[in-house]
């Protein structure tokens, strides 16, 4: 990439195989907390309708594609194997206008491949990641990113966290947006203390906030305040179909969801599009309320299509949706 990078996304990239289960072959029950459970007959042979392959996805990859679609100069740092899956991933990212200059291909390794059991609008993702030896790339001065977007990275990705903290110390004008993945959430706040302290925007859903903060509080303001205390300047808490809360430390703003034009087809990537669009809008100089309004529209669009990227919108498309937004789609300071 010859110009300065607006956003450098960091995190694992995968290929998703969407396994479309037939309605009659499984059922959804609920646990005591009314959480959906996918139930299938044990030991049986269950036909599925089709498999749809989507290359170059994952939390950070989805964020990279989202910010590229919004017109930001986006590069992506990730690791792949030297196989056909890896080639397809690179091709998919190129197609979306994401620079793959910082993607490492590991000889003799496989690329990460997920099986997504798709039933109704929800999915259960079967994950197995390769244990790559992660390495921080050489970023030239003229490329220095305005923002780094960090998300889900494998169990052995600790070295990236250490190197990233060092990079942010050496380059204080580069800002960090952090949307933690499974292992980063499990690491807790003590181990990643320096990372949290250097975070400009932090995003997670409500359950993840509770897990990270080891808190049983259901009060969004309490969770947001606790997160600010760890360092992030701006905190975004998403709560699924209920809406989202954003705070800059001075005020907390609530945004309801943008009404779905049709019932959601697939919720994959809804959180990624929300978090990355919010970051892109803040990077563009918008207010919390404006950033939330962008994020809700992109997230609404994503769940109307299969996979995390097909529904991502351009800046113009978002503003078009904003113009026809219902009067209820307005941010409120709480």
């Amino acid at each position: 990439m010859k110009d300065r990078i607006d956003i450098l996304a960091i995190g694992d990239v995968v290929t998703d195989a969407f396994i479309e289960l037939l309605p009659a072959e499984a059922e959804i029950n609920e646990d005591k907390a009314r959480h959906p459970l996918l139930c299938m007959t044990y030991g049986s042979k269950i036909p599925f309708k089709d498999a749809i392959i989507i290359n170059g996805v994952g939390n950070a990859a989805n964020a990279a594609v989202a910010t590229a679609a919004l017109g930001l100069n986006t590069a992506y740092m990730a690791d792949i194997g030297d196989d056909r899956v890896g080639e397809d991933i690179l091709q998919a990212l190129h197609k979306h206008g994401v620079s793959t200059e910082f993607i490492n291909s590991h000889a003799g390794y496989k690329s990460n491949y997920h099986y997504v059991l798709w039933y109704g609008a929800d999915r259960t993702i079967l994950i197995k990641h390769e244990n790559y030896s992660y390495k921080w790339p050489e970023i030239r001065d003229y490329q220095k990113p305005s923002w780094i977007y960090l998300s889900s990275i494998g169990e052995s990705g600790g070295v990236i966290h250490t190197q990233l903290v060092k990079y942010l110390e050496d380059n204080p004008d580069t800002k960090l947006s952090f949307q933690p993945g499974t292992f980063q959430i499990r690491e807790g706040t003590k181990k990643l203390q320096e990372l949290y302290s250097k975070t400009t925007i932090f995003t997670a859903n409500k359950e993840e906030f509770q897990q990270i903060l080891e808190s049983e509080s259901t009060d969004e303001k309490t969770l947001i305040t606790k997160m600010h205390q760890l360092g992030p300047e701006t905190v975004l808490l998403t709560d699924g179909p209920k809406g989202a809360f954003a705070s800059d430390g001075n005020q907390v703003v609530f945004m309801p969801p943008y009404p779905d034009p049709k019932p959601p087809l697939d919720r994959t990537g809804a959180g990624d599009s929300y978090a990355s669009t919010f970051t892109a809008a803040i990077a563009d100089g918008l207010s919390l309320a404006e950033a939330l309004s962008w994020a809700g529209i992109n997230s609404m669009s994503v769940v109307q299509k299969i996979g995390a990227q097909a529904g991502l919108l351009s800046k113009k498309e978002i503003t078009d949706w904003l113009k026809k937004a219902p009067s209820s789609y307005v941010a409120k300071v709480i």
Binding site: L38, T41, G43, P47, F48
Partner: protein, 323 residues
């Protein structure tokens, strides 16, 4: 000119996804997954499979020129299949890739030491057309049908192609309840050799008979050369009115029956195609089947030509009777 052996059947990829979450819930016969969540697997392995590919490998590993007619998608799994076929010196019909479907796939949701819950997709081979079958070599020694085509007219067309090239036909009918019994019996009678599992034979005849009685029942129904295979016991064959029986060898440690029926059928057909000797065909078929039963995943255990040479047959392992 060397003899060419044709195989028609599915080529797929088996995915073994291993996790404790795939055990049944206590007092239930269901696996229950937290829907909407991410589930980290203990292990995940992709293995090329499918009755057509495995059968073609049985022929090819005997040094025979083998041509596989199959149908896959245009995806990574198809590329894995192509790679294996190339490595095994199997040629595949050039029209096998179609972007209408994903390649046939089975996802085995497994937890250690437990049965599996299998999610499977077969839409790719189901789209096999007459045009695909026309890619069989014009000069054909033997045609082995390892998977029944979904389109019955394709099945009938295969028999015509074989007849035109004076090729003999062996068939391993599975999922026999997916086709009318009348049409299937009519087709089987036109084949030189029918190799069928005990379970499929029971469905086809509609009778819960023992293996030898099933073979005799199908023989009496007009199938001149029939072999019935039981993965837990052995096999019975009837040819020219003679009954041949085998038992499984005693030292066999059965680990996984996946693919055993398919490689028995291909092994039996392959050896019979070469030597027209039922005794050798049974020996070879059972050896192939037992080999794949001893490991998880069939492909690696299919025997190469030299591997069969040390196998000796116990006197009481094989018997030959006259009906």
């Amino acid at each position: 000119m060397s003899q060419v052996f044709g195989v028609v059947g599915s080529a797929s990829v088996d995915i073994y996804a291993i996790s404790r979450f795939f055990s049944p819930q206590k007092n239930q016969n269901q696996i229950v997954l937290d829907h909407g969540s991410q589930l980290w697997l203990d292990d995940s392995v992709q293995e090329p499979s499918g009755a057509g590919l495995l059968s073609a490998m049985v022929f090819a590993r005997q040094g025979l020129e083998t041509h596989l007619v199959t149908k896959t998608g245009v995806d990574v799994f198809s590329e894995i299949i192509d790679h294996v076929a190339q490595k095994e010196s199997i040629s595949i019909n050039s029209s096998h890739q179609s972007n209408k479907h994903h390649t046939d796939t089975t996802i085995h949701l497994a937890s250690d030491g437990q049965d599996q819950t299998n999610l499977h997709f077969t839409g790719s081979f189901s789209s096999l057309s007459k045009a695909d079958c026309r890619e069989l070599p014009a000069v054909l020694e033997w045609l082995h049908i390892a998977t029944l085509p979904a389109d019955k007219s394709v099945l009938l067309d295969l028999l015509k192609i074989a007849k035109a090239s004076h090729a003999k036909v062996s068939i391993n009918p599975r999922f026999v309840d997916s086709i009318s019994a009348k049409l299937l019996m009519k087709t089987l009678k036109q084949c030189s050799l029918v190799v069928i599992s005990i379970d499929e034979a029971r469905i086809l005849t509609g009778e819960h008979l023992e293996i030898e009685d099933l073979a005799q029942s199908l023989n009496l129904a007009g199938i001149d050369h029939i072999a019935v295979y039981d993965p837990n016991a052995g096999a019975v064959a009837i040819e020219n009115g003679k009954i041949y029986t085998t038992d499984q060898t005693k030292q066999s440690h059965q680990h996984d029956n996946t693919g055993a029926e398919v490689v028995f059928a291909a092994g039996y057909s392959c050896e019979y195609a070469k030597n027209s000797d039922v005794t050798l065909a049974l020996t070879f078929g059972i050896a192939q089947a037992q080999s794949v039963q001893m490991v998880a995943g069939a492909r690696s255990a299919i025997l190469q030509k030299p591997a069969l040479e040390p196998i000796s047959v116990d006197e009481d392992f094989l018997t030959e009777d006259i009906v």
